[in-house]
Symmetry: C2
Subunit: 214 residues, 2 copies
DNA sequence: TAGATTGTTAATCGATTAACAATC
DNA sequence: TAGATTGTTAATCGATTAACAATC
């Protein structure tokens, strides 16, 4: 029964539903229909109902959806009711920024450590956590049951580091290195290729300019 | 003739082609067939040819594609042969990290300024650029022909700031604020919702665990 | 020329939207 | 009960893959 694979297109929309439902909840709104949500979120009501029904019915005919209940159920689907031990690999600009900025604890992510291979950074405190040498990373992952590694290292070392993480039992990699990691399919990888994203933006800027010169 | 709209699915793949072709070029490889590229990139040869042919034929029958030529043509499509004036709005952790980390100049993005509304940051140097007060932002955008604004401010002010940017002629917004901006359709927005991305990762981790407990 | 590989049309697959019966 | 709105099936749309004629 768990066997109907849910498409990544649907998964990709869940965090946005979650965000909007959280806002509605904070505003004290108790119920919402797919049509009302459609108006707010600018997606079709049909898609909203299809998406939710991938996970079983959360609504009630003639009534709609209970905001708080739906919010919590989507949170569970996304795994936000569980905690996830997380480390950051690479204490450069981006690694430090993510540690300070992401507010991991809010969603059940427990920031357990940060690693780098630059001795100048060893011991420096980032979010109350001392930067540790890369050499300690493998044992740390095993001994602290780390689920998720955030890769903010240059692409030259990322592939190799990813392999070590896999060998030591990592479950998922949040990859900011500009390279495709080659890991077994049971290891989840979520890529954040920032420069790719910026290129898409410039494409669309230029496309729009061209369209209007015709 | 420019009228066949190219799908965002195709656009989303262009930066990855560009990256692989750049690597092949650096390795000194001169020609490649769609089948060889397919093997390396793990997408179908058919998709590769379809994607490229959205922009007119870059290849030669019986021969394949010239790596350097293809690399340059895709670069042009992505607008990387042009320069784009860019500012960062929000000099917090993430804004600073992007300024230092992104190497904007490499792809023709010219980092023109960084703004914040925290007086403690005014004048601080970030990538040889002094942080300016938010109040100066609007005039700066107009007077310096800024094309792209990178939004790394809290979501509470992002919507309002985006409106000001639009009023002063911005063309595109690279949005890291966790909110959907409401701008005219001629303004391009590329969202980077980092927490959404992290939630997708946890979904996939949990999904995999569940699949294996059945 | 023969072989290779593109460019492009056709077939398939999957995702989105529409419609409506079920039901609260 | 009547009205509203979901859950779900059917229809449409778009994207991917397969096939092959064109051609270098």
């Amino acid at each position: 029964m768990e066997n109907k694979e849910i498409s990544q297109a649907v998964i990709g929309r869940l965090p946005r539903y979650f965000r909007y439902l959280g806002e509605l909840k904070d505003e004290g709104i108790e119920r919402i229909s797919s049509q009302e949500l459609s108006d707010i979120m600018q997606v079709t009501a049909s898609q909203i109902r299809q998406d939710f029904n991938n996970f079983g019915g959360f609504g009630q005919q003639g009534y709609g959806y209970k905001v708080e209940y739906l919010y919590e159920e989507i949170g569970k689907i996304l795994g936000l009711d569980k905690t996830h031990n997380l480390i950051i690999i690479g204490a450069g600009n981006l690694g430090q920024a993510l540690a300070n900025y992401m507010n991991f604890e809010r969603r059940g992510f427990i920031f357990k450590g940060i690693f780098d291979n630059n001795p100048a950074l060893f011991g420096r405190k980032i979010k109350d956590m001392e930067v540790k040498p890369m050499g300690e990373m493998e044992a740390f992952v095993r001994e602290n049951e780390i689920d998720i590694a955030v890769l903010t290292i240059p692409k030259t070392s990322a592939v190799e580091v990813a392999e070590k993480l896999v060998q030591n039992g990592i479950k998922g990699i949040w990859n900011f290195a500009h390279v495709d990691l080659n890991v077994p399919k049971e290891i989840q990888v979520e890529n954040v290729h920032l420069s790719d994203s910026l290129m898409k933006l410039t494409y669309n800027i230029i496309r729009f300019e061209n369209e209007n010169n015709n």
